[in-house]
């Protein structure tokens, strides 16, 4: 899982196409969620999958598709690009096969590492109530501050979106008057 997370993160940084890097970041997040699960924090794994892999990645993908950034970074000629792609495909397949074999090898040889400690798992289930209790007693003030932060972020995003639209509208009306 760690190998998978590291490989995915490397692809995130090195990929030319933003869509590819967003999808590999998704893979990295899933690997991290499995690590949380193995460490005995079930709620963290669920939150990671729901918030990161579900919400944030969809937001990123949506913006990339909206702005049509998929090809904007590649400024090579068409021949170069096809050559690059043809060269890249076997590399990608080789990396995938290597990851698969590594995970198989890890499962074969070190079965105990992939096993969840039963004690930890039980504590994780019982830790849900402890988590909630701590969050609403000791960490009540940060919790409320987080709600204020979310509200202000919502307002900020709405203001940004509306201001852009009104500026565009004024630009368009100025062009019309000219």
């Amino acid at each position: 899982m760690s190998v998978g997370a590291i490989l995915c993160s490397l692809v995130v940084v090195s990929a030319r196409n933003p869509v590819v890097s967003v999808l590999s970041l998704l893979g990295s997040f899933v690997c991290l969620a499995v690590i949380y699960l193995l460490a005995g924090f079930q709620f963290m794994a669920a939150a990671q999958l729901l918030v990161y892999a579900g919400a944030i990645m969809v937001l990123f993908l949506f913006v990339i598709m909206l702005l049509n950034l998929g090809t904007s970074e590649e400024q090579n000629g068409p021949i170069d690009r096809t050559l690059l792609r043809a060269r890249r495909i076997p590399i990608v397949f080789a990396i995938g096969a290597a990851v698969f074999l590594l995970t198989l090898f890890g499962i074969e040889t070190q079965q105990t590492i992939m096993e969840v400690d039963p004690e930890l798992a039980e504590r994780g289930v019982s830790s849900m109530s402890g988590l909630a209790e701590l969050m609403f007693s000791t960490y009540l003030l940060p919790f409320e501050a987080a709600s204020v932060l979310l509200l202000s972020a919502t307002i900020a995003v709405i203001v940004l979106a509306k201001r852009g639209r009104t500026e565009l509208a004024t630009d368009a009306s100025a062009e019309v008057t000219q």
Partner: protein
């Protein structure tokens, strides 16, 4: 025995370094935001490892996961506001390349 805590910390360090590299190397604003997300994830992993390190068999230390949840919340807010800024920039300039957004320095 499960995964030792040192390995988790090493993984977090490696992920954070990759994020820092991406943050400085890439010229696309969205890629920079993605690198920031990667770094926040590494921080989360560190919180989890610390919580595991300090919890005993009888009592689980739960401050780490709570801070990690707050970090996830902040990451969500950051992604929302950052992407709104990117869209506003793209509307004005028709580009998201950081090399072409340097008017403040001139």
């Amino acid at each position: 025995m499960t995964v030792p805590n040192e390995h988790i910390l090493f993984l977090a360090a490696i992920l954070f370094s990759i994020g820092v590299c991406g943050f400085f190397i890439r010229r696309n604003t969205i890629m920079v935001l993605l690198s920031v997300e990667l770094m926040l994830n590494a921080a989360n992993l560190t919180f989890i490892a610390g919580s595991r390190m300090h919890s005993t068999a009888a009592q689980a230390e739960l401050s780490g996961p709570i801070f990690a949840i707050f970090v996830i919340l902040v990451a969500a807010v950051e992604a929302g506001v950052g992407l709104a800024l990117v869209i506003a920039l793209f509307r004005r300039k028709q580009t998201v390349s950081l090399d072409q957004l340097n008017e403040l320095g001139d």
